[in-house]
């Protein structure tokens, strides 16, 4: 039998892995760097759309430049500490000044991050957009569907959950059939949203 040398059993495998790693990581890093700007742009556009949607301002879905200019016209980012603004000051379609804030809370599987828009009274919602969620696809994840998000407009808390499609009063929220825990999580988030907004806007107003 051939005697295995130190080189073939010890040195070569290590050398091979080092070279392989360097080559592949370089390729991946290269692709990452070339798409980085695009990814950042996507993310900032995503946030802008979310704020506009929460404020109830119409924008063309597929025209980034248009979204950009509407956003710049209407929205002022206040206290951008470390990138994410403390709150957004928004000129609402009605002509008054509204606000929007990030509200975070626990969902069923992970964190739900949402942007709530408010009328000048800081109580009545102009709308909501869920920017991050890991709820069950097809059930809890339906919180990102139009019919669910639209129900928040013009409502003010504290809220109660009612059956899917049954909400009538301004303090009732539709639950999602089959996604009770997610519905409850969103209820909690919606209930603390006004307080979060008041905190942030008043702190920022000093």
């Amino acid at each position: 039998m051939k005697q295995e040398s130190v080189f073939s059993t010890r040195v070569y495998p290590v050398l091979f892995m080092v070279i392989l790693t360097v080559v592949f990581i370089s390729v991946v890093s290269g692709i990452y760097l070339t798409t980085k700007e695009r990814v950042l742009l996507n993310e900032s556009l995503f946030q802008k759309k979310a704020v506009l949607y929460a404020a109830g301002i119409d924008f063309p879905e597929n025209q980034p430049q248009e979204v950009q200019s509407i956003y710049e016209d209407r929205v002022t980012e206040v206290d951008s500490e470390g990138g994410q603004p403390a709150y957004f000051k928004i000129q609402l379609p009605s002509g008054t000044t509204g606000y929007a804030v990030y509200v975070r809370g626990a969902g069923l599987w992970g964190e739900i991050v949402s942007i709530f828009g408010f009328q000048p009274d800081l109580k009545t919602f102009t709308g909501v957009e869920f920017v991050e969620q890991n709820e069950t696809p097809g059930l809890g994840a339906r919180i990102t569907e139009q019919w669910y998000k639209e129900q928040f407009r013009g409502k003010s808390g504290p809220f109660e959950l009612v059956e899917e499609g049954a909400s009538e009063e301004s303090n009732e929220l539709d639950a999602i059939t089959g996604a009770t825990r997610t519905s409850e999580a969103v209820l909690k988030i919606a209930n603390k949203a006004a307080e979060t907004a008041r905190d942030k806007v008043e702190k920022g107003g000093k």
Partner: protein, 205 residues
């Protein structure tokens, strides 16, 4: 150059009688997870086909150089690189889909089909044949998922590709969009294929 018969067999085996999903029961994690919407399933399938094909070729091309005792590490590194390329590309060019697929794109790395094909095929066969094997394994995986997703989305939401098909009268089967729905659909699929189609083939022999 391999014999034409071998090429054909390499291509048809993973699609038919040696299918990774319904015969080898591999890649079940993603089969259960991403099949409740047709669109996500198709994107996921493309990602898997891309990865199985390219990782097969790469591993096969390097098979004479990969030391046996670190071969798993090397395979994982190669597979992971291709998966991250898919992930980055989706993130840059299809951010909406990327958000919906969430962690499952990254989990292609651990898809047993890819590692399985690398170990069982790419390490022992030339690059051209491995390309065919990777491609057909990916296709074999994809069409099963797409069939399952078709029924799950249709029955679970009354929609296909996000477009309403069944209308108001349809009551959505909530179970279809939950993981148990995938178990049922996969089981029915395996049952039909193995119990009916494959038996008939055997009887014909």
């Amino acid at each position: 150059m391999a014999a034409p018969g071998k090429i054909k067999k390499t291509f048809t085996d993973p699609i038919g009688k040696n299918n990774p999903v319904f015969v080898q029961i591999l890649g079940i994690c993603s089969t259960l997870a991403v099949t409740n919407k047709l669109e996500n399933t198709v994107i996921m399938s493309l990602g898997v086909i891309f990865t199985t094909t390219l990782s097969g070729v790469t591993i096969s091309a390097l098979r004479k150089f990969i030391p046996a005792r670190v071969r798993m590490m090397a395979e994982t590194l190669i597979i992971a690189s291709f998966v991250i390329i898919v992930d980055i590309t989706l993130r840059a060019y299809m951010p909406e889909v990327w958000k919906q697929l969430g962690p499952y794109v990254g989990l292609i790395i651990t898809n047993c089909i890819i590692m399985g094909r690398a170990e069982a095929f790419a390490l022992n066969n030339p690059a051209g044949l491995s390309l065919i094997d990777g491609l057909s394994s990916g296709i074999g995986y994809s069409y099963v998922l797409i069939v399952i997703a078709f029924f799950r989305e249709l029955l679970g939401t009354g929609e296909l590709w996000g477009i309403t098909i069944l209308g108001e009268w349809w009551t959505n089967w909530a179970i279809m969009v939950m993981p148990p729905g995938a178990f049922f659909m996969l089981a029915i699929f395996v049952w039909i294929v193995k119990g009916v189609v494959m038996k008939e083939e055997e009887a014909a022999k």
